[in-house]
Symmetry: C2
Subunit: 218 residues, 2 copies
């Protein structure tokens, strides 16, 4: 396939992927996919990954979200998305080996994953997806998600063992303590680690500041 053919295919796949999101808004909407795509290209260029595989994988990585939401979390969106992507790409007449390279990225992108990222492209997508959970964008998403589930703004003394996620006593701070502050240690590429360290430092400072402001001392 030449460059023009690849560009046309990307656009067609993008339209199909977008349609899977309906008018969903929030922490895992189409905007998230576009941010992950931009990070994939940035990291992928540095790591010399196959950008065609990466573009397809990034666009399709969350198309199984609706299935996960409908099943109340029982169906894994990475698994559902990988299966949907395989069908979608086969319908476009792509070679089987290319399809499997894209599908592996999608199947392996989840944080709590059964499938580990085994290729360079899968590692880049994994890192890009996680990076969107930290830094300023990660802060925004954590509070947006808390608002979606009717949670509290903040509780500096939150008991992370006793507080259940998705409840009204949950907070963005619990998500930070339990998950987000560890993301920098989960990166799988050198460029991912570099970006993660910078975003991590900003996020740590934000929550330290939030603790001081809410105590009335800043």
């Amino acid at each position: 396939m030449n460059a023009a053919g690849r560009a046309a295919l990307i656009e067609a796949v993008k339209a199909e992927a977008l349609a899977c999101f309906g008018d969903a808004r929030g922490s895992h909407d189409w905007d998230h996919t576009e941010r992950v795509l931009r990070l994939c290209l940035r990291i992928g260029r540095r790591e010399k990954a196959d950008l065609f595989v990466l573009r397809l994988a990034a666009l399709l990585h969350d198309i199984g979200r609706a299935e996960e939401d409908r099943s109340h979390g029982r169906r894994c969106h990475a698994e559902a998305g990988a299966e949907k992507a395989r069908v979608l790409l086969a319908g476009r007449g792509l070679p089987a080996d290319l399809i499997e390279r894209v599908v592996h990225c999608i199947a392996a992108h989840r944080y709590r994953k059964a499938v580990k990222p085994e290729t360079l492209e899968a590692r880049v997508l994994f890192d890009a997806d996680k990076l969107d959970s930290i830094g300023a964008v990660g802060i925004g998403r954590a509070f947006l998600f808390a608002g979606e589930v009717g949670a509290r703004l903040h509780d500096r003394d939150i008991d992370v063992e006793k507080t259940k996620p998705y409840t009204k006593d949950d907070t963005a701070y619990r998500e930070f303590l339990v998950k987000l502050r560890h993301i920098k240690d989960r990166m799988t590429t050198a460029e991912g680690r570099r970006i993660a360290r910078e975003r991590h430092t900003y996020m740590v400072d934000f929550f330290a500041r939030l603790n001081r402001e809410t105590a009335g001392v800043l």
Copy 2:
């Protein structure tokens, strides 16, 4: 009334105020009241305000929220809260002039207000309430509120004229552009202005950073 009598009264009023919130969570819950109280005391000490009046006013300033929410915004929470506070404090046998000093603070604390804050204590409460909308806590609240109404995470090119608040295309960034970035110019006390400038700078940097991160360049 002696110091012990005042302390007991504060505790009793606090319990009555808390009861007005039920199990509400989110951007205007009881936690907000407690943060505003802490800021009132900090600013009030510096400005040499009457801390007894301030404590009562801070605890009671949002007790009209449920009325505003039930009326879908037609009933103003500052007005409803002032009336409820008058009845509540009269029930505790407080002198009429003290009651009116507290009630004025509550009636005049709103940003888009008909009643202007005319006393030192009313100005302190006004500033403290607005300060809770900026800085790290303001960032968190803006995204939490966006999540509560099912809005988007971010749109750096948002058209603030065309985008309606409380809709799915709304964002914390619109709230920042239209309202939050102007709060530092609305402060009515010297200490309020000082705190606002510091929190304002942090918030401006946050959104500049968010624009760069979401563009994939940071």
